[in-house]
């Protein structure tokens, strides 16, 4: 099996199969991160494509001698930031309307299982965070990255990452433990 380094070198020579192999190897990492931040499977699928198309387009800028994961995390976070900033304004109200319209159906036990309710709460709790806190929380909990690694990926001081994680965790705790559903207080950025 070829290493990431060998595949990147092949990709730099224009080998599309190398791109396919890198996709097979790393797609879950990118997809999980994008799902965690956006909370939307379809959007995460589109971002997954965008990240690897960017890898293809800018293959010559990737240093094959360095690990590929930080590049993938960074690109996923950047593309997700861009997507969220573009779509957040209208997506949330539309989601609320859709939820309201489907309200009666969702109350029915046929459509609602205990697990669904739990995932819905998790998704809403994550969505209640600011985008910057959300990215840090996802990288820390879902991807098991250390504060130092997150700091290097996002190119932000460790202290700032620590602060975002602290306030993000506090907000999640409050949301999930007090059952503060639907009434999310504003999250202020301290750093």
């Amino acid at each position: 099996m070829l290493t990431d380094r060998e595949l990147v070198l092949q990709l730099q020579k224009g080998d599309l199969n190398a791109l396919g192999d890198l996709f097979d190897r790393h797609q879950r990492l990118v997809f999980r991160t994008a799902v965690g931040i956006t909370g939307d499977e379809q959007v995460a699928s589109d971002l997954l494509q965008d990240v690897f198309l960017r890898m293809h387009r800018f293959a010559h800028h990737i240093d094959p001698d360095r690990p590929l994961e930080p590049w993938l995390y960074r690109t996923t976070a950047n593309l997700t930031y861009t997507w969220m900033k573009r779509h957040n304004r209208w997506l949330r109200p539309l989601e609320d309307v859709a939820e309201w319209l489907a309200g009666s159906k969702k109350q029915s036990p046929v459509y609602l299982t205990e697990a669904d309710e739990e995932w819905k709460d998790i998704k809403k709790a994550i969505a209640s965070l600011s985008l910057q806190q959300r990215v840090v929380v996802v990288l820390y909990y879902i991807n098991d990255l250390s504060l130092q690694e997150i700091s290097e990926i996002l190119d932000v001081p460790v202290g700032t990452i620590k602060s975002r994680l602290f306030y993000g965790r506090q907000a999640l705790k409050k949301y999930l433990e007090t059952g503060n559903k639907g009434q999310v207080e504003a999250n202020y950025e301290f750093t």
Binding site: L16, Q27, F31, R32, E118, I122, I126, V138, I142, K173
Partner: protein, 93 residues
Amino acid sequence: MNSRNLKDDVFDLSLDRSLKNWVDRKNPPADGRTKLLKAAAQQNRSFSRVKLPKINIEWFLNLNEIRCEYQIRPIDNYLFEHMDFLKTTMAFL
């Protein structure tokens, strides 16, 4: 990049597990690779369609006759002296 963090708080552990379980239920589309390679091949084609201009247009200001002249030449014959001349002229103007 697999270093574990110390998540010793009960809430932390519960949050860690819940978030992982939540994303584990989601799967990337099965046709992702096919779609990607198709889009990448298309990207390749669109790159190759972008062509550099084959001509170089140079403007000269004829101060004696107070008029502009221009010259069009194939890019193959392009010389750096021409660029220097243009820069000098523009700077003068």
